[in-house]
């Protein structure tokens, strides 16, 4: 049992808005805060991906296929990057003694567009010499820097989760609200449709939806397609829950009051009923983002999502499917670790949000 608060804190609590109370409860959950912190960092990194990445995602360097990670060493007060050269045998690299270059920060490098529209050439770090690369996470079979591709991939993988959730939850809430509010035939039809969508195992439905799009599309089209496909599946579950909540909410006095004032149905649904479901929706959204991220990963991994040379966490993992690669070049699994951390952070945050939204706990 938690210690009961004194009267003064109870009075102080009464002055706080529900959101402030919610925030107070959330702050006490360390793991949830840690999850939230990790997510903020991850999304900031994705936002500045081009700046942080030392190379471009499609920067081929076939001399350096499957290069192991190069870690800068601390020498005095500077980081220096050692150099390797191809040794005898395939994909074997040998350290070149005494050939180091200092690691510079804010160096000029390849062109990229910050936030997708500001042309820039400054990178967070690098050696400034194309023949003396720094590969923190090694390279893939085409000699592309895994870290840079991971960063560019995070732009896609992380944003798909957020946009997908926004899209499908908006639809799910509106459709669920309509369904629960009007009941009758509208409700029956919508709910049967939801049931239909939910009764097909998700990935099978994803592939049949993918089938309706042309096999080859531009990268932007593919991106939009993935969001459309995942949202098409995602709205159904949301709509069902919101419908259930609406069914009980519409019987309440404040809805009756709004109706007696002559407000329109749509306004009642959007202004009076849906806001009451927000705390549930926020928790559910946080816990659902991983499904969208994983959906993109699976589609791209199977070769029907984001296409090479564009990077996504899913299509980067495709290379790891080759067991020989996997055994010898384990850094190819880096995107897997990135997915794991992201999903874990979302789960931590979502779990804490759920506890904090539970008003029974003080």
């Amino acid at each position: 049992m938690e210690p009961a608060p004194s009267i003064s804190t109870i009075e102080a609590k009464a002055l706080l808005s529900p959101w402030q109370l919610f925030w107070q409860r959330l702050k006490r959950r360390k793991i949830a805060m840690a999850g939230g912190g990790i997510l903020i960092v991850l999304y900031l990194i994705a936002l500045f991906a081009g700046f942080i990445a030392p190379y471009r995602f499609d920067d081929l360097n076939t001399d350096y296929s499957f290069h192991p990670p190069i870690w800068p060493k601390l020498q005095g007060f500077h980081f220096v990057v050692p150099r390797y050269e191809p040794g005898s045998g395939t994909f074997v690299y040998r350290l070149v003694p005494n050939d180091t270059k200092p690691l510079h920060f804010f160096v000029h490098g390849d062109n990229y567009k910050l936030f997708g529209f500001i042309p820039a050439t400054i990178h967070l770090f690098g050696t400034g010499d194309p023949h003396h690369p720094v590969y923190l996470l090694g390279t893939d079979q085409f000699g592309r820097d895994v870290l840079s591709r991971l960063l560019y991939g995070s732009e896609i993988s992380l944003s798909i989760g957020i946009i997908g959730i926004l899209l499908s939850f908006t639809f799910g809430m509106i459709i669920g609200g309509i369904s629960g509010y009007f009941s009758g035939w509208t409700d029956t039809i919508i709910m049967r449709l939801c049931e239909l969508i939910m009764s097909i195992p998700a990935l099978y439905l994803i592939i049949s939806l993918r089938n309706t799009f042309p096999p080859s599309m531009s990268s932007t089209q593919v991106y939009a397609m993935i969001i459309i496909i995942l949202s098409f599946i995602g709205w159904a579950g949301m709509a069902r829950v919101i419908r259930g909540m609406t069914l009980s909410l519409r019987e309440q006095q404040f809805v009756l009051a709004a109706r007696s004032l002559g407000q329109s149905h749509l306004k009642i649904i959007v202004r009076h009923i849906l806001p009451n479901t927000f705390s549930y929706v926020i928790v559910a959204a946080t816990l659902s983002v991983p499904y969208y991220i994983l959906g993109e990963v699976v589609l791209s991994f199977l070769g029907v999502g984001i296409q090479e040379p564009n990077a996504s966490w899913g299509n980067m993992l495709t290379a790891a499917q080759n067991t020989e690669y996997l055994q010898n070049y384990p850094w190819l699994l880096a995107p897997g670790a990135a997915i794991f951390i992201t999903v874990l952070a979302f789960n931590f945050l979502g779990d804490g949000l759920r506890d904090a939204a539970d008003t029974k706990s003080l």
């Binding site: 049992m1 938690e2 210690p3 009961a4 004194s6 009267i7």
Partner: protein
């Protein structure tokens, strides 16, 4: 020797710095065949006291810090798990507030009663005995009810089943924790009538917990009034109803509507029952008391015997 003797019982929720005293220095007795009512507003510790008799409050979070509960002269708080299981049902049986929630929803009524019989009177664990028990508590057509699930019965019938189950083990003491609160008013009277009738026939003692002073007069031999984890007044029922001594009892009586009498005398007690951990210093009723004086908040008054068999926790009980 009394059947039950609770002496200076003290119980906390939580430990050390976070400990909250839920029961503070509660003492009372129940003789064989006696009916005692434990009265008080919700949250005053009635249920926890009652559950303590069978040591049914989970520990942790609860901790017994002092006192003893003598059942047939043996301290329940010191008993081993095996001993506890023998007295639970064997000596003291319980009937709870929500019959719907107290019956296991997935087992047939008959089997739940049989479970009690098997445990305490294995030689009688047969259908005839179950039917006899169901008849005893006034369930019509008991033969067909045996195979019913709890949800197929009405609330009143469910409570009768609970009582039958409690009686199955032939207890010396029946603890009924607000047995009628969750039922319709007409059913309430039936259940109470059943309880007093059973008491006459079986000669068992009853500890009846209620927040309703109205039923005290019909049922109780003696009454213990609890407030904020303490006993405020302990007295024979008729005397207490005729002449309450503690200001809290008086206030409680004034808040009960009477069929005859002036309507304007009905009054609510100002304020709320303090929550566990928020007890005021000194007399816990002082902030709501009409005769409170400054010294009331200094130290906790003791429970004193002011007349034979009448105990009051208020030094100013004579003041009106």
């Amino acid at each position: 020797m009394n059947l039950l003797e609770i002496k200076n019982l003290k119980m906390d929720f939580g430990k050390n710095a976070g400990a909250l005293r839920a029961i503070d220095d509660v003492s009372f007795t129940i003789g064989a065949g006696e009916t005692v009512c434990l009265v008080g507003e919700s949250g005053c510790g009635k249920t926890v006291t009652a559950l303590s008799i069978g040591k049914l409050v989970p520990t942790p979070p609860a901790h017994y810090v002092g006192g003893e509960i003598l059942l047939n002269g043996q301290d329940v708080l010191q008993m081993s798990n095996d001993q506890l299981r023998n007295i639970r049902g064997g000596v003291v049986s319980y009937v709870f507030q929500e019959p719907g929630a107290s019956l296991n929803p997935v087992f047939r009524v008959g089997n739940q009663i049989r479970e009690s019989l098997k445990l305490h009177r294995p030689e009688k664990a047969n259908n005839e005995e179950i039917i006899r028990l169901l008849k005893l508590v006034g369930i019509p057509a008991p033969e067909s009810r045996i195979r019913n699930y709890p949800f197929e019965l009405s609330g009143g019938m469910q409570q009768r089943v609970m009582i039958a189950m409690a009686l199955a083990s032939e207890p010396k003491l029946l603890v009924a924790d607000e047995p009628t609160t969750a039922l319709d008013v007409t059913i309430q009277a039936q259940i109470l009538e059943l309880l007093s009738e059973l008491k006459q026939r079986l000669g068992m003692a009853i500890l009846l917990i209620t927040h309703n002073l109205g039923i005290v007069g019909d049922m109780a031999d003696r009454v213990a009034v609890m407030y904020a984890g303490q006993i405020a007044e302990l007295a024979p029922a008729q005397e207490l109803l005729r002449r309450p001594l503690h200001p809290y009892t008086k206030a409680l009586m004034a808040s009960v509507p009477k069929l005859r009498g002036d309507a304007d005398r009905l009054s609510a007690i100002p304020g709320n029952v303090p929550r566990i951990g928020n007890f005021p210093p000194g007399c816990r009723f002082a902030p709501r008391c009409v005769i409170a004086r400054p010294e009331c908040s200094k130290e906790i008054p003791r429970l004193i015997e002011v007349e034979a068999g009448r105990w009051v926790r208020c030094p100013f009980w004579q003041a009106s």
